[in-house]
Amino acid sequence: MYLTDPNPKILAKKSELVRKLLSFLPRDAVIDDPHETLAYECDALSAYRCPPMVAVLPSTTEEVAKILKICWDLDVPVVPRGSGTSLAGGALPTGDSLVLGVARMNDTLEVDYPNRLIRVQTGRTNLSVTGEVESDGFFYAPDPSSQLACAISGNIAMNSGGAHCLKYGVTSNNLLGVKMVTMQGEIIDLGGSQLDASGYDLLGLICGSEGQLGIVTEATLRILHKPEGALPVLIGYNDSEVAGQCVSDIIKAGVLPVAIEFMDRPCIRATDAFSHAGYPDCEALLIIEVEGSEIEIEEQLAKIIEIANRHSPVELRRAKNSDEANRIWLGRKSAFGAMGQINDYMCLDGTIPVSKLPFVLKRISEMSKEFGLDVGNVFHAGDGNMHPLILYNANKPGDLETCEAFGAEILKLCVEVGGCLTGEHGVGIEKRDLMQIQYSADDLEAQMSIKDVFDPKWLLNPTKVFPLDVSAQRRGDASQETAA
């Protein structure tokens, strides 16, 4: 993938920038030594690295506002950063950029149970938000697998979701308000503690905008009372089409599980070898979890099992207690680690209409042979969010490129069958050049015109989301313009 070259005119402003930053920030909040900026050279898409010109770690919204105003005046591009777990290169710097990390802004500002909300600074990690309210029986619903590390800021920017979003929705459905700083250094409050807005839903627009419209420093999040309990059932089939039919029948019967996870044979084998979860060796494995009191779990599981049995499963294992539940989840939860043991992998997250699952799995396995790379599939079956894990060897010349080409073909396929390029991880740099597969020129123009409003100089995370040639003129990048 092509990474943009740093602009020498901006690099020449480094000392002026650092001097201005140090006029109000403590020394340890401004990182300009080239050895130390290395710590910010990549996110979880670690195949791509580029240290920024400077990194800053402000502690308050006011500091963020001052920093942005300085960068606005000096035309320095800014890359916002939470915990750097983006899988799409969303937090990858350019060589001429300032990385603004919110890691020091991690206070809880307000917990309000009657109104079911918590207000936090956005550097706070996802899991620690639940940690704050758990002892009182509450939780924050969106649960990306990276929740131990990822920050609320990144969750908002990527509109992240997790295994339980079938019932609880993604970040956008659980976000009530934000405090945000615009590139010009203006502080703005959007949304709040009420359930809707007067005027346009700017909050909805900010969520998922990948750090391109403003820097979010505070968030008001909806918290919910925890259900009394939850238990999964594991079901194995020897045909992915049958497994897909089973999911569809469960949903049609009016049962709404909190999670429906799907694994294919390569993935089952890898995870079982790694975690010894005791999974059956079959074509398709479903883990379906339901919530509620004992009676409610019993009632829902009975319906699910009745439907599952109609489709002649090769295995059906019902958890009766939390130990058995953990055993069922063990393999699924270690799926990524297990694949990582075998080789380097690239994880995609395209979404497809659920009914297209068997066709897409068949095509992926055909493509796997064409490209000569193995692939395992984990899949949020309830909402069509695929996770093909393509295995490659980073030390083998050309393997990464083959893997990326394979990945692009899978994502094209997702769009062709009526789905989308990304259901969880966002576009970042990883999928920016694939955007034209899903969107027409007018579609992209409409989106970019929103960025024109919030960030007229295109300084905030400018090289992400949009194909480089399409955004070149707006970014003032003459080299790309001619290339296009």
Binding site: G169, L202, L203, G204, Q300, N385, E424
Partner: protein, 362 residues
């Protein structure tokens, strides 16, 4: 005022129309809401039909002008529904039309189940619309999880026809619960609503009648589950006098709530206020209205006040907003200067000729 009505039946007709159009236009869905504010009306009444419905994937795609009644009937056959319970205000506002699915999403119209399942905007998965220059734009899609590019779907939901003509919507649907009950609880405090929401019993409706002092708590689901949760709530609120509405009575009750039946046949201006749930009752105490009800665990306030009484003045610094549904005030609550600047710029980007709904959101 004499009006011309345009009734394009395809996206390309709309596109051709808008490219050459220079005058103001009112976008009309089923006209259950606004009286035409411009002389020229462009109606979605010829853009109808369900394009795709996959009950097993909980998704539907429909043309924007499709009557809400058709959507509901089609869903009902599969025992599914629009879970956000779109309200119907045409009776209370004495309007003759019918809601369209495009109008529902254009106004982000969400009923009592908002507190459990989210608003209309949370169910909208994708839109196609035509902007003021005649450009056909699509955003989102028909799958449940989609973070590809900016979420213009949220922007279009609740944009009241000021950014473009929505031609097609795709949205999430949910199963109709097997059964439901509603507890009618005699409580002098409205805070009983937030108490009910703070239990693990998955409450799907909370309503408070200030004059009578009755709170209404709805639970829905499979039979055994509903019975269990009802017992738990009865225990939780054992200090109160409680009546139980069975499934039929419960359905009737919430349908009345979502039609604002309680506020019909009454004089005075009609207001809708959205605030932090615990602030709802405070604002009622300040205003001393002729009639008042709380929905959304207290955060949605419905009021009848003396004609010409300015509700907004009394809200002062309270976070939230008040919409005037009938009365002489601007329908929409003013927004902050910076939000206004941004919103106006967005509007100019999407509708540079300023064609659409000029009186709306202004």
């Amino acid at each position: 005022m004499s009006t011309t009505s345009l009734m394009p039946s395809s996206e390309s007709d709309i596109r051709d129309l808008l490219i050459s159009e220079t005058e103001g236009l009112h976008i009309a869905g089923g006209q259950s809401r606004l009286r035409a504010t411009e002389e020229k009306v462009i109606s979605t009444c010829a853009l109808t039909g369900i394009v795709e419905y996959e009950p097993g994937a909980l998704t539907m795609v429909a043309k924007a002008g499709t009557p809400l009644s058709i959507i509901n009937e089609t869903l009902q056959k599969e025992n599914q529904q629009l879970a956000f319970e779109p309200p119907e205000y045409k009776h209370i506002l004495n309007l003759l039309g019918h809601s369209t699915i495009g109008g529902v999403f254009a106004t982000n119209a969400s009923g009592s189940r908002r507190i459990q399942v989210g608003a209309a905007r949370d169910h909208l998965l994708g839109v196609r619309f035509i902007d003021g220059l005649g450009r056909v734009v699509k955003n989102g899609g028909r799958v449940m999880k989609n973070v590809t590019g900016y979420d213009l779907v949220k922007l279009m939901a609740g944009s009241w026809g000021t950014l473009g003509i929505i031609t097609e919507v795709s949205f999430k649907v949910l199963p109709i619960a097997e059964t439901q009950v509603t507890l009618q609880i005699a409580s002098r405090e409205a805070s009983i609503l937030t108490r009910a929401m703070n239990t693990p019993y998955d409450v799907s409706g909370t309503f408070y009648d200030v004059a009578s002092g009755f709170a209404y708590i709805r639970i829905e689901g499979f039979d055994k589950s509903v019975k269990y949760r009802m017992q738990q709530l009865l225990k939780e609120f054992s200090d109160f006098e409680i009546d139980i509405f069975d499934a039929e009575e419960s359905k009737k009750f919430w349908s009345d709530v979502n039609n604002l039946a309680f506020l019909k046949n009454m004089q005075g201006d009609l207001w809708r206020i959205s605030v932090r749930p615990t602030d709802g009752i405070q604002i009622i105490k300040k205003l001393d209205p002729k009639a008042s009800y709380l929905d959304w665990s207290g955060g949605l306030v419905w009021l009848r006040v003396e004609e010409g009484f300015n509700v907004r003045e009394k809200m002062q610094k309270m976070s939230g907003h008040a919409m005037c549904l009938s009365g002489s005030f601007n329908q929409f609550h003013p927004i902050s200067t910076i939000e206004k600047t941004m919103s106006t710029s967005i509007r100019k980007k999407f509708d540079p000729k300023m064609l659409f709904n000029q009186q709306v959101l202004n």
